[in-house]
Symmetry: C2
Subunit: 668 residues, 2 copies
């Protein structure tokens, strides 16, 4: 098993938790998504990126002459993110090929070649494509280490237009791909390219230079972690510190905040501006904070994270409510229909929260990660893995203007001219195993629940679960040291009524002395400390069942409405399940009797819908007139009914055509 | 009194109503706005337009050489709209100078020079500025009649980039200014320029050519009405007919609808795309429909207007909910905080509705005009007349991102780089008199209530009122023919409890046989037919008092909330009146006891606020966390209270600094 943590603080870093030595998802909810990612999305992504001209740009740069650059200035980053995804994916396949410790019963073997011919890049094809692309990247690099095809092909002076050029943004993604290649494959080919570029930056980047789009900060920190080269961390520190000094030129009608350059991070009290940039920068700043033991910076980031969660986060975990500039709105400005919720922002949010979790060990960070993964990252990719959302609306109404090019009205797309999101999901899915668990001197902490194995500090845990469809999670100790250690299990904040049972000694069920009877408190970690033996078994029941969720009064767009959630999943009403009525008209009965439903047509059989009693508002003829009326007049909404409402997980929406959809539903 | 109707269908046009021969606002609510427009806004606008380089462009074009063009491609239109405003304003001043028929007691004389030195362009200054600008426009016109300074200065081929160049848009505004000059001043200098340009269009415009921004259609129709030159109407007909054939190239990520080129007008069932373009085109199409007696086209426009009112109109009358492309959203997509509600769209809506009112005589069109004038046009200009809103948000929340450049977060602006809105308000205010009333063979129809005089078909009415602050409108017959005629008074749809009284024969009060006792039905015209005598007096009481307004269920963003209205005015809660609490937290008591309040600090004394009983939602410490919570838990919102709520007219907001504001308030 390679040491393949996606984030790996240095031994001296000021962190509370450290990534588990290894964790592996085997099937289940996320395993299925990883399989689709490997079999469909990654091969398709390679093709789309090739079609976009991004490989051609590298080829042209490798030839050394100038020439036409195709696509966006940040086209290189699509290649790098795809390479990162392939590296993690090949690393997981390699583990399988080498055999794993977890025993034969741990799930189906990983077999990239098992369905040969299904994908060009699968298995050997994937390895070949990876190695060719890595060689191409290496060839495109200038002898002096510089690499950015748009700059090279257009003949612009390097680092002369950093506000717009995305040179450092691309460099950062190269570094992350290189670290993945090194950790997942033990291959330092790309790492050599990345360090040569990083050395060029250290040497030649003008003093005070910042990229318009943060990303390189966290990449430099990780490259430092991988190589030990302190100048990379120093450069990241400098960039995190300089940010917010209004050093960058203004863009369009925007102020400096759009480029994260209005308020220094150490002074900021909230997140603002472009949501993806904010997340990437915050992730890098967290890396800097822990590597330099900068408690003030970490406190500032904690403050910003909390404010973001309290005032600028959609129920799904999605971020960004302003289309203009792809940015955060004001506090509580979380309109569902105009939600931007860029898929990349959700990926960035997971990255930041993971780093905060490592730094602090606080469950709230893992709670947001789980919410975001299920409800803000995953909606960005179709169930088939071949169509995408860049923007994730939380409401689409009937009769949406067919000429309105906002994403929700158009449905999922095959690809995007700005294709940052699809490969971002690819790399996150292919490295998702690394976010499951951590280890520290005390023991093992399990943050996300998926079937598979977790290895940390001499412990090997086997996890069995059909979570999130069911709430039952079985954890079996397969290897353990002789000394006592603590198993910490995250109990999500929503998991009222969660319980734990344990069977020790491989047989009799005995009360766990660390458990208060059957229930455990939500919103933290339930800890069991003991001398463990092989075969010890802990059963967690997260009490997954449908529930109604309301918003605080300041969240005016949700007033008078509720959302349906079930476990970590946010649900929605979709038109496909409601023939004969329009989703816009549906409302819940005051006593809606939420319960799990039978599988719905067109979605995989394992998807558990939630059914409820509802009605449809009636539109009488006079409703066709001015839609405002004197209140208090005896014209309360009339209803047709009853209507059986079917809620489906929001991540699964828009897989059966695009139509009206809402996550908020009025009560009566 | 010049024959100065702003819209004047030809005698043979298929209209139901015809503009009154003359109407004149004397003081009162709108008279005050006109005074500020004349004394402050128009002079200031002339300066701002000069500073923008628009006059310099004309000067450069007049010199005949190419050269730098300053500002936007449509900069010429700012000059033309300003000239139109000045023409109407000078026409009104000229009436005063010549003396008027209404008697000395009809209001204060119009005296542009009365406060000499206050404005450079006032009185004689205004006349001089007008004549200089007209001469400059004439000089800038090419010998062959072509005129568009951007095209002339950049050397681009005329009509070669109509999708973007705004050549015809500018030409249309020139024509409207020229018609105003002719009608208001009897001056045909600009009219000669306009007809030479129109002739150039008729001769040289490529077949099928359309401007990306409709506007010229209504202008060509009016130029035809003014000159009788049928080719101008024919060109307008052709443009209205060709529209919707996807003839224009696409723009950015938009479909053809953004340029009103997706669905032919005769087939369209709703309005879509760029809201200002939609309104201007619809106005021109209505002109075409009545001048050609095209009942099918009028029916299509009626259908589109009704759908717009039913599904795409804010409570204020504002139009356009999508920032991206300044366009209409889907039906019921009317989010207050992201309202675009461009001031120009409101001006265009008034222009369209007026044309529909002339065509059909239906009160609903006048109802929307009144709503829009008070609540969507007027908010676009400060009470002092010197600061502007291009975009009109209907909600601003506490803690708005200071780096968010959307208008509401920035407050009113001195001027705009795209300065279409301020001069649009100027020309509408300076011609507002023309929208008050119409005449037909039956008599006189009064649509808007303002103190002043109305002349139509041998009738001279004097109107006295402090509407909209009070609901009482006195109409006195000052001149009348001997034969019977009908006085038709619009009773707004909101005016439940309106009543009419009459005193005939100049003395005794007698029951009016045309009135059912004291009350009249809202939402139409109350008609009184008789042989009138001088001194006959009709008193209308529009029952202006505060009321609560709710939205239909589909309008989800207003669920659980109400708005306060009073007469034609939409009210809002503004932070300035609520020290110690935040507007975002305010809610109305279930029994709020709405009543008129005393004048509020910082607004003119005549502004009637509405006060009510309310409370403030309490934000406890746990509200600082994730803003979503399981519903049904015993954590209903807690309140502080009582809080005295003060609602002020929305048009008057943002005159005391910018802060939180809302037109929708939750009930409890």
């Amino acid at each position: 098993m390679s040491d393949d943590a996606v984030v790996r603080p240095r031994p001296e870093a000021a962190v509370t938790l450290r990534p588990a030595a290894g964790a592996r998802i085997e099937g289940g909810f996320w395993g299925d998504r990883q399989r689709v990612n490997r079999d469909v999305t990654i091969p398709l992504g390679g093709e789309r990126i090739r079609e976009s001209g991004a490989f051609a740009n590298l080829e042209a740069a490798a030839r050394g002459a100038g020439g036409e650059h195709r696509g966006k200035v940040f086209a290189d980053s699509d290649v790098y993110k795809w390479l990162e995804a392939v590296a993690w994916e090949r690393g997981r396949a390699g583990d399988d090929e080498r055999g794993r410790t977890g025993g034969d019963d741990l799930g189906r073997p990983y077999a990239g070649d098992g369905e040969g011919g299904r994908s060009q890049a699968g298995g050997d094809g994937l390895a070949r494509a990876y190695e060719e692309a890595v060689a191409l990247v290496a060839a495109a690099q200038r002898p002096d280490g510089y690499l950015h095809t748009h700059t090279q092909l257009t003949g612009r002076e390097p680092y002369s237009d950093l506000a717009s050029s995305h040179e450092l943004y691309c460099a950062g993604h190269l570094m992350q791909a290189a670290v993945a290649g090194s950790r997942a494959l033990g291959d330092d080919t790309l790492l050599r390219v990345a360090t040569r570029l990083a050395d060029h930056l250290v040497k030649d980047l003008p003093a005070g230079a910042l990229d318009g789009h943060p990303q390189i900060e966290t990449a430099l920190a990780e490259l430092y972690r991988e190589t030990g080269a302190r100048p990379y961390l120093d450069l990241a520190i400098r960039m995190v510190t300089d940010r917010g000094g209004e050093r960058l030129p203004l863009k369009g009608h925007h102020g400096p905040g759009i480029r994260q350059d209005r308020v220094p991070l150490r002074e900021a009290t909230t997140v603002e501006g472009h949501a993806v940039r904010a997340m990437y920068l915050a992730a890098g700043a967290t890396d800097v904070a822990v590597e330099t033991a900068d408690a003030d910076l970490l406190a500032a980031l904690t403050r910003q994270w909390r404010d973001m969660v309290a005032t600028k986060t959609y129920l799904t975990g999605g971020l960004g409510s302003v289309w203009y500039g792809e940015q955060f709105g004001g506090p509580h400005e979380l309109t569902p229909e105009t939600a931007y919720c860029e898929t990349c922002a959700a990926v960035g949010s997971v990255q930041w929260s993971w780093r905060m979790l490592l730094a602090t060990g606080e469950a709230a960070f893992a709670d947001l990660m789980e919410r975001t993964l299920h409800n803000a990252v995953l909606p960005g990719i179709s169930l088939g893995g071949d169509r995408f959302f860049y923007v994730n609306a939380l409401r689409v109404r009937a009769g949406a203007n067919p000429d309105d090019r906002r994403a929700a009205a158009r449905g999922r797309q095959d690809w995007y001219g700005t294709a940052c999101c699809p490969p971002n999901v690819m790399r996150l899915l292919s490295s998702l195993d690394h976010y499951l668990a951590t280890g520290d001197d005390e023991g093992v902490q399990v943050h996300l629940y998926a079937p598979g194995t977790i290895r940390a500090g001499g412990v090997l845990l086997e996890v069995e679960t059909d979570y999130p469809w069911g709430g039952r999670v079985e954890l079996v100790v397969r290897e353990t040291p002789d000394h006592p250690w603590t198993l910490a299990l995250r109990i999500p904040a929503w998991a009222d009524g969660a319980g734990v049972e344990a069977r020790f000694g491989g047989g009799d069920q005995r009360a766990d002395p660390g458990v208060d009877g059957r229930t455990v408190a939500p919103g933290g970690y339930h800890r069991v400390r003991r001398v463990w033996r092989r075969g010890d078994r802990v059963t967690l029941d997260l009490a997954v069942r449908p529930r109604l969720t309301a918003a605080v009064p300041r969240l005016d767009v949700a007033r008078g409405q509720v959302a349906v959630e079930r476990g970590p999943l946010v649900y929605c009403l979709e038109q496909a399940d409601h023939p004969g009525v329009i989703v816009d008209d549906l409302c819940l009965d005051t006593n809606p009797g939420l319960r799990d439903g039978s599988p719905v047509t067109g979605l995989p059989a394992e998807v558990v819908p939630v059914v409820a009693r509802g009605r449809a508002h009636v539109h009488r003829a006079d409703d066709a007139g001015f839609p405002y009326r004197t209140a208090g007049a005896p014209r309360e909404p009339e209803h047709e009914g009853p209507v059986a409402l079917t809620f489906v997980p929001y991540y699964a929406w828009a897989n059966r055509g695009t139509g009206p959809m809402t996550i908020w539903t009025p009560m009566h």
